[in-house]
């Protein structure tokens, strides 16, 4: 056999290390090794890895472990252990009448014992993708074990989010998983050639029950010829993680610099993450040094890639080195202008050079937009912002449409922002809204995040649209266009539960003389603990006019909101045996709950979004304290002074360390900030990252506690 590359492949070397090759081949590899240091190193590495694995440090077996086991026995708990091997499916012996009888007896025996459910429960759901590292365009075999979650389903939907190297992304139904005789669900998925990253989740055919792997999804990155993830694939994964797990995204950024240390893109990306995390001076010192190394390397390259030059320019811009950025943008020149990174660096430079000259900036942006292939969200965004500042509707329309091709999810947010800018914007926004309203109100499953059920998505979407319509209506009202304001308010009033929007809608109805509707909507806003004081402040006249009626409206609204909130509740027990630490002393997670509704928040000092939340958490702790609920921070990697200053300013906050990760693992937390709202009995009822949702949820649970009502809406396994 001839080795194509001139060297035996790694698998062959690995088999050589185990002596698994035929004698002739073994000798041939041995002969090659004598002359080839690279392959010799691979074989040596196989052995070093095994040696290192055998000498890995292990934890100490403490007597406490034994005492706990004996205590369990003393409490009559028994565990049925697997004393026989599983046996390979292919070689499994047929089940005889005798073994079936023994199995039946065992079942009876089990019934008479207190059996540890943990050892007997069915496997949790899991999804496997093969190959785990596909090449572009490859067909994936997907195998899913549905566990108890989908026990009654024969077909499931496999949803996917695909990402390309050019930052395009879309969500789709990737396939239908069909349950086989062995209980596993299977399907094949052909990856489009352009896809470099894909994330998956599974749900029932109605999108009601879903398994998103604890919101971590299952994902794959496309590999290159060397079998490792391509830089494009890693960058796409990073972008996907950015919003759902910032800490993991930062890990990917660091991994990019390890795998691709000579690529400016790796370092420019890592720099953007580290700016928000560490001391600014040291970040700049480190990255300036890296930049100089990369710049030297690229300068010595006779034919540097335009892509690399574009990323180097972007890195220079981040570091504030405008001169270097200009140099590298110029060098990338016309031949690289079609690349978004080159065009975006040029865009930044022109925005700096022509600051204030909006028409000139827009004119140059038009050139760039025409040049860049596949569009650029950054250019579209700057075009939109500049056009908005200029206030010319036709230009705004053009740039808004361009922007929304890339970020369709942000339409309502953008317009609400735009409508506030100038009086001229009002007519633009109201016209745009009228044109787009049917589209806004249409359910678009393609925009639904993979981890969100159809019901939850609809709830969020409608609340968002309600807020948008209320905002535009308010602006129309301020500008004297009562008719438009009322029309929008009529459309928005029963859409969802956006408390800010409800306040604005109430004001519109009051202005047009519909006091009854204004009071009803105000009461709905006041039902949300986060907005109670704002609503009462605004609605003094309405609530004082007929106090009894107001109280009735408020009670009714609170019941409606509780019902709305509890509809989205889960039911999961807080696991026992999870060790935390408080000032070096061990504490059990279950002991942290003091028979009060408790909000657990995982925080990390390596997560910029988590750090951003600290101020809000201080405010939240005061509100919770007033409601008789607790706020507990679970610090996963030593927040140190940050946590201390938070506790000093808000003494009711309790902080525990989860450095070992046992609480994260037990709760299935994969990111920070991550919030778990636990009822007074220690059951997890809500899990998310939306701090603004917490007070509503705590209020609903406190109310439940008072009535003794139990909600058993439990789709999670």
């Amino acid at each position: 056999m001839i080795w194509i590359t001139g060297h035996p492949g790694f698998r062959r070397l690995s088999r050589f290390a185990d002596g698994e090759l035929r004698a002739r081949e073994q000798a041939r590899v041995a002969s090659h090794l004598a002359d080839c240091p690279r392959c010799r190193e691979d074989v040596a590495l196989v052995r070093r890895m095994a040696r290192a694995a055998r000498t890995m440090p292990t934890p100490r077996a403490s007597d406490e472990l034994l005492q706990q086991a004996l205590a369990r026995r003393a409490a009559s708990e028994r565990v049925l252990l697997p004393t026989t091997d599983a046996g390979a499916p292919a070689t499994a012996r047929p089940r005889t009448a005798r073994t079936a009888a023994i199995a039946a007896m065992l079942t009876l025996l089990v019934g008479s014992l207190v059996v540890s459910v943990r050892m007997l429960e069915a496997d949790r759901p899991d999804l496997r993708l093969h190959p785990e590292g596909p090449v572009a365009g490859e067909v994936l075999s997907v195998e899913y074990h549905g566990g108890a979650l989908f026990a009654d389903q024969t077909h499931l939907k496999l949803r996917a989010r695909y990402r390309t190297a050019t930052d395009r992304q879309w969500q789709l139904l990737a396939g239908i998983l069909v349950r086989g005789d062995d209980g596993l669900y299977r399907t094949d998925v052909a990856l489009p050639d352009s896809v470099v990253y894909a994330a998956f989740a599974v749900e029932d055919l109605y999108g009601e029950r879903l398994d998103s792997n604890n919101r971590q999804l299952w994902d794959i990155m496309v590999r290159g010829d060397d079998g490792t993830p391509t830089l494009d694939a890693m960058a796409a994964r990073l972008r996907d993680l950015e919003r759902r797990d910032w800490g993991e995204a930062y890990d990917v950024a660091r991994e990019m610099t390890e795998r691709y240390p000579d690529e400016p893109r790796s370092w420019a990306t890592r720099f953007s993450y580290e700016l928000g995390l560490f001391d600014r001076d040291s970040v700049f010192d480190t990255h300036r040094a890296e930049f100089r190394r990369l710049e030297k390397r690229l300068s010595e390259d006779p034919r540097p890639e335009p892509q690399a030059m574009g990323w180097l320019a972007s890195y220079a811009l981040g570091l504030g080195d405008i001169a270097s950025a200009s140099t590298w943008v110029d060098r990338a020149g016309e031949q690289g202008r079609h690349l978004s990174i080159v065009a975006e660096s040029e865009m930044m430079l022109l925005a700096l050079r022509h600051e204030g000259d909006l028409e000139l900036i827009l004119s140059e942006l038009e050139d760039l937009w025409t040049a860049v292939e596949g569009g650029s969200v950054a250019i579209a965004n700057l075009g939109w912002q500049t056009a908005k500042d200029l206030g010319e509707p036709a230009t705004m329309h053009r740039w808004l449409d361009r922007y929304l091709v890339h970020r369709p999810r942000e339409d309502v947010l953008l317009l609400a922002d735009a409508a506030d800018a100038t009086p001229e914007m009002v007519s633009f926004t109201t016209v745009w809204t009228a044109e787009r309203l049917p589209y806004l109100q249409r359910r678009n499953d393609g925009l639904r995040p993979l981890h969100v059920s159809q019901d939850d998505h609809l709830r969020r979407e409608t609340a968002e649209i309600q807020g948008f319509l209320a905002k535009v209506g308010s602006i129309a009202l301020e500008n004297g266009d009562t008719e438009t304001a009322e029309s929008l308010a009529m459309k928005a009033k029963d859409l969802g539960w956006n408390s800010r929007g409800l306040l604005e809608l109430s004001a519109i109805f009051l202005a047009v003389g519909d006091t009854a509707e204004a009071t009803r909507l105000l009461a709905r806003a006041a039902a949300d603990p986060l907005w109670t004081s704002a609503a009462e402040e605004r609605g003094d006249d309405l609530s004082n006019a007929n106090a009894t009626h107001w109280q009735k409206m408020l009670t009714s609204a609170r019941n409606d909101l509780r019902s709305d909130v509890l509809d989205a509740a889960v039911l999961r027990y807080l696991p026992g045996g999870v060790d935390l630490r408080s000032e070096s002393r061990p504490v059990q997670l279950t002991d942290v709950i003091r028979e009060r509704v408790t909000v657990l928040v995982f925080l990390s000092r390596y997560s910029a979004p988590a750090i951003d939340q600290l101020e809000s958490l201080a405010e939240l702790s005061q509100s919770l304290d007033g409601m008789g609920a607790d706020l507990v921070l679970l610090d996963i990697d030593d927040m140190g002074p940050l946590a201390r200053s938070l506790v000093e300013s808000s003494p009711t906050i309790r902080v525990f360390s989860d450095f070992s990760g046992s609480a994260r693992s037990a709760l299935g937390s994969s990111k920070t900030p991550d919030i778990f709202v636990v009822d007074e009995s220690g059951r997890i009822r809500f899990e998310h990252s939306e701090i603004g949702e917490v007070l509503r949820q705590v209020e609903a649970l406190q109310h439940l506690r008072g009535t003794g009502v139990q909600i058993a809406h439990a789709y999670r396994p």
Binding site: T58, P59, R73, T83
Partner: protein
């Protein structure tokens, strides 16, 4: 059997003691003193196997605790013909694998979890071992279980295949894939 026979050092680690028969009889009857003695003799080695297989202190402790909670009943299935140490080690591996399958979806743990363990002197640097441990935790479960059972615990492929319910060829393939996975991430670091 493969390259590790009954006299192999891999099995010696849990070798039977002379007074073991009496001890096992006591444990079988649920006697706490006998169970405590077995724990003192085998607990650390059991925790080592469980920890390497599950990659988590917490899980490993749960595995060992579960085994002691169920050992008297399980001992009824041990007929005394083979080495008790080998039987127990196999049981630990089997329970750890079940645990691992059940816990597979749990989130990746922080590297700090790896730093909990007490260090021991070895020719491989502490940093390298921690790096390896971190990478091992990221390895897909089906590869890691083969790698640990074969390379660390010293089971031959036939036993690995039995324990995991896969074919011998699959065990061999997974071992090579596991090494490939490690090599990609450890080259130049070990």
């Amino acid at each position: 059997m493969g390259q590790y026979g009954p006299g192999d050092p891999a099995n010696e680690r849990m070798a039977p003691r002379p007074d073991e028969a009496g001890l096992l009889a006591g444990a079988r009857a649920g006697n706490h003193e006998a169970l405590s003695e077995l724990f003192h003799q085998y607990g650390q080695q059991m925790l080592d196997v469980a920890y390497r297989t599950t990659g988590s202190t917490h899980d490993a402790e749960d595995v060992v605790q579960d085994i002691f909670a169920g050992l008297p009943e399980a001992l009824r299935g041990y007929d005394g013909t083979g080495s008790f140490g080998a039987w127990l080690r196999r049981l630990v591996a089997r329970v750890s694998l079940l645990w691992l399958r059940r816990e597979r979806r749990r989130s990746r743990r922080d590297q700090r979890a790896a730093e909990e363990g007490a260090g021991e002197v070895s020719p491989v640097s502490v940093e390298a071992r921690l790096t390896l441990e971190r990478v091992l935790k990221r390895m897909p479960v089906e590869l890691r279980s083969v790698y640990v059972l074969k390379e660390v615990e010293g089971y031959p492929h036939a036993d690995v295949a039995d324990l995991l319910g896969i074919s011998i060829a699959a065990s061999q393939t997974r071992l090579h894939r596991a090494r490939h996975f490690l090599r990609d991430r450890l080259r130049g670091k070990l």
